[in-house]
Amino acid sequence: MAAPDPMLAGGADFRTRLQTWLPKIVLAPSFAIMVIFVYGFIAFTVYLSFTGSRMLPSFDLVGWQNYDRLFRIREWDIAVSNLFVFASLYIVISTIIGLMLAIFLDQKIRGEGILRPIFLYPMALSFIVTGTAWKWFLDPGIGIEHSMHLWGFENFQFDWIKDRDMAVYTIVIAAVWQSSGFVMAMFLAGLRGIDNEILKAAQMDGASNFQMYRRIILPQLRPAFLSAFVILSHLAIKSYDLVIALTGGGPGNATAMPATFMYSYTFTRDQMGIGAASAVIMLMTIAAIMVPYLYAELREKK
C-alpha cells in the first residue's frame, strides 16, 4: 500500500530501481532461512519418517512402516495418554486459577501492583529451574512430606513423584505453577478491555455481581479463553524440559511424553525413522490447533 509500485521500476534510473528492490532484498535472508530451516527441515523430517533410518539418516523408503510400528510401541501409548492427561489437567486448572486470580485482582485490590508480578514471575524462569525446585520439594525423603513428619503429622504422605501412577500429576502441579500467572495476565487484560459503559448499563438493569460476570463479562472474554487454550495446549505438546528436569520421564517410563519419546528414540535408541514419525505426529497435532487460529487472526486483521 505504502510502497511505490514496482511499476515505477521500468525505465527508471538505477537508484530509483534499487529503492524499489531494497525491501525484497532485505527480506530475502529471513525468507531463505525460513524456507530452509523451517519448512525444508519439516519436509526432510517427514521424508525420514518414511525411511528405515536408524542411527544415521538413510534414504530407503519403507512406506508407513515406522508409523505402523510407532503405534504398536507401548511407550508411545503411555506417552500419548500421559500427554492427554497432562494437557487436559494443565489447561483446565491453569485456566480456572488464572481466571479466578484475574477476577479477584480486578476488584480494586490494594497491593495489586505487588501481587501481579508475584503471580507472573515463574513465567520468566527456565523449566529446568522450575523442575529442579519442585523435584526436591516434592521428594518424600527431604521435601514437603519430610517436613510434615517433622512437624508431627506422622501419617502425612505425599510421594506422587515416586509413584508410577501419580507422577504425571506432579508435572501438572509444576507446570500450573509456572504458567497460571500468565493466564491470569491474559484474562486481566481482557477484563480491563471491557467497555465500562456496558457494565454500568448492566448495573442499571439490576444485574447482580454474579450475574454480571456470568452473563456479561465472561462471554466477552471469549478471545482470551481461546488464546489461553491455544497457548497452553501448544506449550503442553512441546513440553520437554520440565519432564526431563522433574522426573526424567520416570519412574521407569511412567511420565514419558511424546517430546521425550522422540528424543530418546532418535538420539539414544538409534531409531531415527520412528523418532521422525513421532515428531511428525507432534507437528500435525500442533498444526491442527494453530493453523485455524492463526488463519483467523490474520484474516481478522486484513
Partner: protein, 371 residues
Amino acid sequence: MGFLDINNVTKSYGAVEVLHKVDIQVQEGEFLVLVGPSGCGKSTLLNMIAGLEGISSGEIAIKDRVVNNIAPAKRNIAMVFQSYALYPNMTVGKNITFGLEMQGTPKAERDKAMADVAQLLQIENLLDRKPGQLSGGQRQRVAMGRALVRDPDVFLFDEPLSNLDAKLRVDMRTEIKKLHQKLGTTIVYVTHDQIEAMTLSTRIAVMYDGYVQQLGTPKEIYDNPANLFVATFMGSPAMNVLSSKLVEMNGAIHAQITGAEGQDQHLRIENAPDAYRAYLNKEVMLGIRPEAITDPEGADRNARNIQMLTNTVSVTEPAGADTFVSTTLSGKDCIARMRADADVHPNQPFEFAVNMDKAVLFDPKTEDRIA
C-alpha cells in the same frame, strides 16, 4: 500543455480498475480541488501525482516532464498529509528542514529557508518543540511549513483540515486561501468536504466511482451540474430532486409535479433549451436548490421567472440565519431555505416562490443533465 498534465491516467489493482481515464490539465497558479465521497479515487489520484503509487496507464507530466518513472522526491512536489505526518522524534525545525537535508542542501541555506518559512507562517517560537507538544492548528502550520520550505512546483494537500475542529477548520481554510493568493502556487487539494471545495478552488474536479464526473469552476459545478451525482453531492442541504413530467400548456413548457395532497402542480419553464422538447410528456428529474424555493418576499429580485406554488408545510427548522422548511412534493420531502423571519407554520398551506431560472432537468435513466 498545462503546468501539471494528467493525461488519460488509469489505476488498476490486479484486474480491478479503480481509476478510469482521468484527464485534467492544471495551469500554473491554479487551485484544483479533487472532491468526492470516500473511495471515489481522489486520494489515489493524488498519490499517483506524488509518486507514492504507480500509474497503470497514461501519463503524468509536471512542467512538460513526464514523471511516471521518477521517484517522489525528484518530482519537485510537496505534500501536506491528513495526519500532518510530522516526524515525532524530530523538533519542528528539523521536521521542516528534513527534506532539504535529504537533498544535500548546506546547513546555512537550510536555516535561512527555515527562518523565512517560520516567519511566513508565524511559527518562529515553535521551532525547538516536538510535534507532540503542539496543538492541532500548530501542527497544521508546521506541515505546511515543511511543504513550503522546498519551494516546489506543485503542492499536494490530502484532506489537510479534516482533523481539526469546526472553528479551526474555517480559520485554516481562510489561511490556506490567503497563502495561495499571496504566493500564487499551483495546488492540488483533496477533500470530501464540498464547502472546502467551493471556497478554496479555482477549479473543481468532482469524482465518483473512479470517474471524474465534472471538471469546472465552482460556479459551473454549482449552477450547471453535469449529472444527478454532482447536483446532489455539491451544496448543503442537497439539491431537491423531484420526479416530474414535462407538459406543454398555453404554448410554454411546464414541469408537472404532485403536491402534498396529490394535486397536480405546474411550474412554467422559460427559455427552455430545444433539448427539452424531446422529453415532452415524459418523466424527467427536476432539480431545484433549496435557496431557489423561498417565501414570496424573499425571492431573488433579479430572477426573471418566479413561479408561485401553494403547498402544505410539514416541518420548519429554524437555523438562526435561515429557516429550513420541508414540504412534500412528488411524494418526497422537499427543502426550502427562507429568511429567519418568514411567516411559515407547520401543517398549514403556504405560498412558495420557486425561482425556475435556477431549475435544472435530468434524464431519469442516464442521470445526465438535459441541455
